[in-house]
């Protein structure tokens, strides 16, 4: 059965369809303009960043062969000519020859991340309420704390680590401090945003009962924000484990020192062994913190 759709008469339809075509043309034009702008910016950036497509095409094979090389034994294993050219899984003992040393360094790396996270979070906890609009009436305090936190998170942690290595000497201390400062900046911002979104009724209640500012924070604010703070801190720990794995690049402790040496001195199988260990650690930590975070969120929603 044919359905007769009502159709506008031509004289009323044509202005509508013209307007539609006009709108589409306008949108296409602006998209085209945006594309041209991005392309121009890309060309300028390519020139600034010395992009050489030809060299890239010539050497792209090296990138993939690098990965095949780090997973195959070369002639670096003394007294084992039979291993040359074999995949590393062939002899796990030879591949992971430094496992004891590397595991110890991995534990160091995790400790650096943990100490940095805890120290930074304590600092963030102390400062976040001073930066929250609803809890800190004095504008100058709020603004100066906010600027300070911004400074802490904008300067990359590796830059802090470089400076601290000179002040405190080589070793894990500068790594811990660098991560702590960055964590303070990042968590401080997130914490203060959480504190700005709380329910203000308990705060009013404590103020009405004659509570001091600290009592307001302790009894009206902290119970509301604690689970969110814990969740953000776990997330930050996860990020800090990755960060701690490269702290050794500038001499600030952890497994990074061994990794950069292995890469620079072309100890191919060591590179893959350390990378595999780092990736495995990061994945395990991700899984654990995700579990914990979900448990925390579950507790929160049950309340």
């Amino acid at each position: 059965m044919p359905i007769a759709l009502p159709r506008l008469p031509e004289e009323r339809l044509s202005p509508l369809s013209d307007a539609y075509a006009q709108a589409v043309r306008q949108k296409r034009l602006s998209t085209l303009f945006l594309m041209a702008a991005i392309l121009a910016a890309a060309i300028v950036s390519g020139w600034l960043a010395e992009v050489h497509p030809l060299r890239f095409i010539q050497n792209i094979g090296d990138f993939f062969s690098y990965f095949s090389r780090i997973f195959v034994f070369d002639d670096s294993v003394p007294g084992r000519p039979d291993l040359i050219g074999k995949v590393v899984l062939h002899d796990l003992g030879e591949w992971m020859w430094g496992i004891d040393k590397w595991l110890k360094l991995l534990v160091d790396t995790l400790l650096i991340a943990y100490l940095g996270t805890v120290l930074g979070t304590i600092g963030a906890f102390g400062l976040c309420f001073l930066a929250a609009q609803n809890l800190m009436p004095r504008r100058w305090v709020r603004v100066s704390v906010k600027r300070y936190l911004e400074f802490c998170r904008t300067v990359p942690e590796l830059v802090f680590a470089l400076i601290f290595v000179i002040a405190f000497g080589l070793g894990p201390i500068p790594g811990v401090l660098a991560i702590a400062i960055h964590t303070m900046g990042a968590n401080g911002k997130l914490f203060s945003e959480v504190a700005e979104n709380i329910d203000m009724k308990p705060v009013e209640g404590v103020i009405a009962a004659g509570g001091s500012w600290l009592q307001v924070i302790r009894f009206a604010v902290v119970p509301q924000v604690l689970s969110n703070f814990a969740s953000y801190t776990l997330l930050r720990f996860e990020i800090n484990v990755r960060g701690a794995s490269v702290m050794g690049f500038v001499g600030a402790g952890g497994i990074g020192q061994n990794l950069i040496e292995a890469i620079r001195k072309f100890y191919y199988t060591d590179v893959s062994a350390i990378l595999v260990l780092i990736i495995a650690t990061v994945m395990i930590i991700d899984l654990l913190t995700e579990r914990l975070r979900h448990a925390l969120i579950g507790m929160e929603s049950k309340k």
Binding site: I38, A41, A42, V44, S45, G46, L48, A49, E50, V51, H52, R55, F56, N59, I60, D62, F63, Y66, V107, D108, L111, I112, Y114, L115, V118, F151, T154, V155, P156, L158, V159, L162, I163, F164, I166, A167, F168, G169, G171, P172, I173, V176, A209, R242, G243, S245, V246, F249, V250, G253, L259, I260, I263, R264, L275, I278, I279, V282, M283
Partner: protein, 289 residues
């Protein structure tokens, strides 16, 4: 008057405690569990300091030295005009690295994001494979990628571009696929019901919903990549990091603070621009990430 009120409230306290036993007197097991968690965390904290060889004297000595460094950093100065020009040039290079790396990662991760999303992929095996691929890329820090690319294309900013691109392919694939998975299915079903193919569904049902979100995330990462690009120079992958680490190692503190101020200004500028662009594209009312 107020003391009378206070007396009254205090007299009421016992009754209040009796009415809300869970607040005033939580069960012992719960208290013990809280205490145990706090004790374990604190114990690990103390053990960590011990295991990493912290010593108070070294810490205090370091702090004193740090204080003297900060004193030497003021006022920030590049040293000479020609050096200032070199630093500005390196800063432009840094921004260029971040821009190009983000752009390239966007182009690679855009199709990968669809492959890794449950509702837009080809089949389950492809989806899981893409997911694992992006997870492994994300497990490796940008700086490590920079080292690897330096061995492939040589020292210079191009290695930095490739490093930022590589690590962001992992990040973007994850974020894009999550955005695609949370998109509303109804639009896609509508396209399918009028006889559209799977590709039509993705193009007209999913893409219009997720595109603003994806652009917002990309812009957000452009800002954070500018920060990453300032340090990849430490391993020789271009940008201002090379100069910064050089000036730190040679103890030219005024130049160090000058470069840090440059970085702060550049990041703030890009933050400002990308927030503007994000709001223009997404609209003020929607949440970006």
């Amino acid at each position: 008057m107020s003391s009378a009120l206070r007396e009254q409230a205090l007299a009421e306290a016992a009754g209040l405690a009796a009415r809300h036993p869970r607040v005033f007197n939580p069960p012992l097991t719960r208290r013990l569990a809280t205490l145990a968690v706090i004790a374990a965390l604190a114990g690990l904290f103390v053990y960590g300091f011990h295991a990493l060889g912290f010593s108070a004297s070294r810490f205090i000595g370091g702090l004193a030295q740090l204080g003297s460094f900060v004193g030497l950093m003021i006022p920030p100065s590049p040293g000479s005009v020609s050096k200032g020009v070199i630093y500005l040039n390196a800063l432009a290079e840094t921004v260029a690295i971040a821009f190009l790396g983000t752009l390239l990662a966007f182009f690679f991760a855009f199709p990968l994001g669809f492959l890794a999303a449950r509702n837009a992929t080809i089949n389950r095996a492809v989806q899981l494979l893409t997911r694992r691929f992006s997870d492994s890329i994300r497990g490796v820090d940008t700086l490590i990628w920079a080292l690897i690319w330096v061995t492939v294309v040589g020292l210079g900013p191009f290695a930095g571009v490739l490093a930022i691109m590589t690590s962001d392919i992992g990040n973007f694939t994850k974020l894009f696929s999550e955005a695609i998975e949370t998109s509303d299915r109804k639009a896609g079903e509508g396209v399918l019901s009028t006889g559209g193919s799977r590709l039509h569904e993705i193009r007209f049902g999913i893409l219009p919903q997720v595109f603003p979100v994806i652009i917002g995330q990309t812009l957000y990462f452009f800002e954070s990549n500018t920060r990453s690009a300032t340090i990849i120079g430490i391993v020789g992958a271009g940008g201002i990091g090379l100069h910064l680490s050089e000036q730190i190692r040679t103890l030219e503190w005024q130049a160090v603070s000058f470069i840090i101020v440059l970085i702060l200004i550049a990041v703030a500028l890009i933050d400002f621009i990308s927030t503007r662009l994000r709001l223009a594209i997404i609209g003020r009312n929607e949440v970006a990430v």
